[in-house]
């Protein structure tokens, strides 16, 4: 009885921990927080120091329950329809594998990562920092696919991906997972079948996923069965009436409000944390991750006094491109007492992570350095 030594209230909380759902049972349970069967994040204490997030520690957010796992039985037979090009056609994964491939390293981050730090408590999963990871995807560049099929139709303005979840008969077809992003994203997007060098698991969209680097996770459509260059944004509910930066007091999402697309610059500290145990006064290293969304990181600064003063951190580890995150480290001296540790990133275009979050109805895109700061006590 592992719970035997715990106080009753501790047992109650321990029993409340949800198990990993079957389709993600292979995840590192000790490193994950299971909010629900379709929302699972990585603990901040488990982020580690390596630049790549292992698949077993990568967060999961499925907007619909995943399809049956038997879609992975014959991955090469998976079909994707390509429309909005001169010569539309259906290709199998086996055919895609014969085309020129590319690998992109990028931050995959849920639009609502950091929602749990909004005092307004917006509806939705109260993610902390762990609905994010830095991973490598391998597949065919969408621009190559489009070129091979004769180029884009005139009037194409969006890249639209449709997921392969099975929608029950009788449902409004707008219930499908279909997202559109501006056509320019096509230059960086790939149709991927490998995650960190291995076939994409069902939990992450295998056998085939549309990957849109620099954009929030929802835009990288899982189980992708159709890719289209379209003149208008999808009419799906997930495009029109969710994932919008609507005002906090809006009664409902307004399709005219800005869509949640590109990620703004963001960083956070992963060590030390309040959970790190007792800290002794003296030299310490502050470590964390920083990314520029669509641009490379220029600089990361850290503060040990809640933002009153800042010190430039050094970037460590490899630079894996403008869509990846950088690990950073700063040597500091911590005196006895309480310290509010914060980090802020500036990208090469001069955009600096702000102090204040942008208040919005659904709690998207929280990049506030103050919200992401941690308070530690030094003895």
């Amino acid at each position: 009885m592992a719970l035997a030594g715990l106080a009753p209230w501790q047992q109650a909380f321990a029993q409340e921990a949800r198990p990993l759902p079957a389709y993600a049972a292979w995840k590192d349970a000790s490193a994950m927080i299971v909010h629900s069967a379709n929302t699972i994040e990585l603990r901040r204490t488990a982020m580690g120091d390596g630049v790549i997030t292992p698949a077993r520690q990568l967060y999961v957010r499925n907007n619909l329950n995943p399809p049956n796992a038997d879609i992975l039985n014959d991955r090469d037979a998976w079909k994707v329809q390509v429309d909005g090009v001169r010569r539309p056609r259906t290709l199998t994964l086996a055919e895609l594998k014969k085309m020129p491939t590319e690998t992109v390293t990028m931050v995959l981050q849920c639009s609502g990562n950091g929602r749990g730090m909004f005092p307004s408590k917006p509806s939705g999963t109260p993610w902390q920092v762990g609905a994010a990871g830095c991973v490598m995807w391998t597949g065919v560049p969408v621009r190559e696919l489009v070129r091979t099929l004769g180029g884009a139709d005139a009037g194409a303005r969006f890249l639209t991906g449709t997921g392969g979840e099975v929608i029950p008969a009788g449902l409004d077809p707008k219930t499908r997972v279909e997202r559109s992003v501006p056509l320019a994203a096509m230059e960086d997007a790939i149709v991927a079948w490998e995650l960190n060098g291995q076939p994409i698991p069902l939990a992450h969209g295998g056998p085939l996923r549309l990957i849109v680097p620099g954009f929030t996770g929802v835009n990288s459509v899982k189980y992708v069965k159709r890719i289209a260059l379209t003149s208008a944004e999808s009419d799906s509910s997930i495009q029109q009436t969710d994932y919008r930066m609507s005002a906090p007091d809006a009664k409902a999402m307004n399709p005219a409000d800005p869509s949640v697309w590109q990620m703004p610059p963001k960083s956070w500290i992963n060590s030390p944390l309040p959970e790190s145990g007792k800290l002794r006064a003296g030299p310490a290293v502050i470590k964390g991750v920083a990314f520029g969304g669509t641009n490379s990181v220029k600089q990361v600064e850290v503060s040990t006094d809640g933002g009153a003063t800042w010190k430039v951190a050094r970037l460590v580890g490899p630079d894996l491109g403008r869509f990846a995150w950088r690990e950073f480290a700063a040597d500091v001296d911590l005196s006895a007492g309480t310290h509010q540790l914060a980090s802020r990133v500036t990208d090469v275009k001069g955009r600096t992570q702000p102090e204040a979050r942008i208040e919005n109805k659904a709690g998207y895109l929280n990049t506030s350095w103050r919200d992401h700061s941690v308070t530690v006590t030094v003895a």
Binding site: A12, S36, L64, G124, D172, V177, T241, D242
Partner: protein, 116 residues
């Protein structure tokens, strides 16, 4: 004042599963026709709208819809159910054709039968 504090504490402990809430034996549908109506709405919907049960699992209703979240796991409160029905969420469209009364009945039903 003191007894109100005690009642809140007992309710909180019951919610945490630390103690059994002996005075609560589940919703009484006979005494509460709204709950029966909520279950009926959940299972059958309002034509031509699809029923909640088509997508959602809810033990009380005997539904095993597997496309949207399992409501027994989610345990949403009434305000959240009502907000999602009215505004939609993710792929779920807004059910704007439902009346305020229907939304209220559904919200109360789902939150009541999933209450921890």
């Amino acid at each position: 004042m003191k007894s109100a504090h005690l009642a809140r504490r007992v309710a909180r402990l019951a919610a945490l599963g630390v103690i059994a809430w002996s005075g609560y034996a589940g919703p009484s549908f006979a005494a509460d026709p709204d709950l029966a109506q909520g279950r009926q709405l959940f299972l059958n919907g309002v034509a031509p709208l699809p029923a909640c049960a088509l997508c959602h699992t809810l033990r009380d209703a005997g539904s095993n819809g597997a496309i949207g979240p399992n409501l027994d796991e989610l345990k949403p409160d009434a305000a959240r159910v009502a907000a999602v029905i009215r505004s939609g969420m993710g792929p779920m469209p807004a059910f704007t054709a439902l009346t305020d009364a229907q939304v209220a009945v559904l919200a109360r039903y789902v939150s009541t039968v999933t209450k921890p």
